[in-house]
């Protein structure tokens, strides 16, 4: 490895180097600004944190009131309340609730879930997500954080993929009522 002093750099070489450095800086700056430009700072999507009314609005059982607008089911049990996301864990379709069989069936590839989101059959590899919820201290409404999701590792049993219900009924994914 020789030093710069070993070989004389001509004026032409120096300005050539400066020129290429300028081109490299321009290209680098452009690439950086292009990259930043592709990520919008303001989104016009539906809100990912939203209110769905008070716990007293929901009687025991399943509510599909927010499924179409917000992609969540609200489930009220004797112990409390949780918000389950109506996105199938197989390929992202929207399962339908069949109250006669008490199951969710996905119309795309036939995944079957029970009311708690456990997988009873079909190709779904994991349980339905539950979204983080909390009570707004001001107006007492339930606030859903759609992108903060509970996704426990399931246990494979003869009747499908299960998770102990008690382990899912924890904050912030469950509100005791």
């Amino acid at each position: 490895m020789s030093n710069i002093g070993d070989e004389k750099i001509t004026r032409r070489d120096f300005f050539s180097l400066v020129g290429w450095a300028g081109i490299a800086a321009t290209m680098g700056g452009s690439a950086f600004s292009f990259y930043k430009y592709y990520f919008p700072n303001v989104l016009y999507e539906s809100q990912k944190v939203f209110k769905i009314g008070k716990p007293s609005d929901y009687p025991i059982g399943l509510s599909e009131n927010w499924k179409k607008e917000r992609q969540v089911w609200v489930v009220r049990t004797e112990r409390g309340l949780y918000a389950m996301i109506s996105i199938c864990r197989h390929l992202g379709c929207t399962p339908n609730w069949f109250s006669d069989k008490q199951v969710f069936l996905c119309p795309c590839h036939g995944s079957i879930y029970d009311l708690g989101g456990n997988v009873l059959g079909g190709p779904a590899p994991r349980l339905l997500w539950r979204a983080a919820i909390k009570i707004d201290p001001v107006d007492g409404q339930i606030v859903v954080d759609f992108n903060h999701r509970q996704d426990p590792d399931p246990v494979s049993t003869e009747s499908g993929l299960k998770v102990d219900e008690a382990s899912r009924e924890v904050e912030p994914f469950f509100i005791k009522v």
Binding site: E7, S33, Y37, F39, P40, V42
Partner: protein, 254 residues
């Protein structure tokens, strides 16, 4: 590593050789081959006289116009990612680009200023060609192509004017399209228009705007003309323009 070693290494890589093919030796044969065998260089004449490309003579306005067109194409594509030609949101999209999109104001201002500048450089280019007599035979056909390119440049500038969808845009196009209404035979206000049964809802201006006033149809039409139709026409005429320059050779002092 010295500078010589660096350039030697760059020019000896397979990538460099694959692109430029013909070594670095500065021989007449290599120079000609480099131009012959490169898709971008081949639009350029293989040999030009030193005198005829002096900046004092050419003012480099044609090349600058081409550079500005490239900048406009790149920044224009970027702007299309955030701009929707919908009368309800076009103005707000421009506001977003200017205020909340990272580097959005940079790209829009580059697009806007390069557009203004391109109109200027094309005019100066044509002025230079006129003053040096470069429009004369055998280059008279290329002058005609140049006039077409000037018209396309002005139309691009004009159609882009409507897209911000603010008061300036609306009234500029309202005024501008009045010219179409004043066209002979085809415009409602033009000579012989009324006699030929031309009405405000079937004349040239109506065809251009897709309505009797500047509205949603006009915005969409100007958007499509600005982003697709006119740029494609410019590219085609530019190819002919450059090819003719190559075939006719550079003008200039002997």
């Amino acid at each position: 590593m010295t500078y010589k070693q660096l350039t030697d290494w760059v020019t000896s890589t397979q990538i460099y050789k694959a692109i430029f093919r013909h070594g670095y030796e500065d021989t007449p044969r290599n120079r000609a081959l480099t131009t012959f065998s490169n898709v971008l260089y081949h639009l350029h004449p293989v040999k030009t006289r030193r005198e005829s490309i002096k900046i004092r003579y050419t003012w480099c306005m044609g090349g600058t116009s081409m550079l500005l067109f490239l900048m406009l194409a790149i920044t224009g594509v970027l702007l299309m990612f955030y701009y929707v030609p919908d009368a309800r949101r076009a103005y707000n999209d421009i506001k977003d680009i200017m205020n909340v999109v990272s580097f959005g104001s940079t790209f829009r201002n580059v697009h806007r200023l390069a557009a203004h500048l391109m109109v200027f450089t094309v005019w100066v280019h044509m002025t230079r060609v006129f003053l040096t007599g470069s429009y004369k035979s055998p280059r008279e056909f290329n002058w005609i192509i140049g006039v077409v390119l000037l018209m396309l440049t002005l139309l691009l500038s004009w159609t882009g004017y409507l897209l911000p969808w603010d008061q300036l845009a609306l009234w500029a196009i309202t005024v501008g399209t009045k010219m179409a209404a004043a066209a002979p035979f085809l415009g409602v206000e033009g000579p012989f228009g009324a006699q030929l049964g031309i009405r405000p809802d079937n004349d040239l201006k109506f065809m251009l705007l897709g309505g009797t006033e500047v509205g949603q149809n006009a915005l969409l039409r100007f958007y499509v003309l600005h982003c697709v139709v006119l740029p494609l026409m410019v590219v085609m005429f530019l190819a002919i323009h450059f090819w003719r320059v190559r075939k006719d050779g550079f003008s200039g002092p002997l």
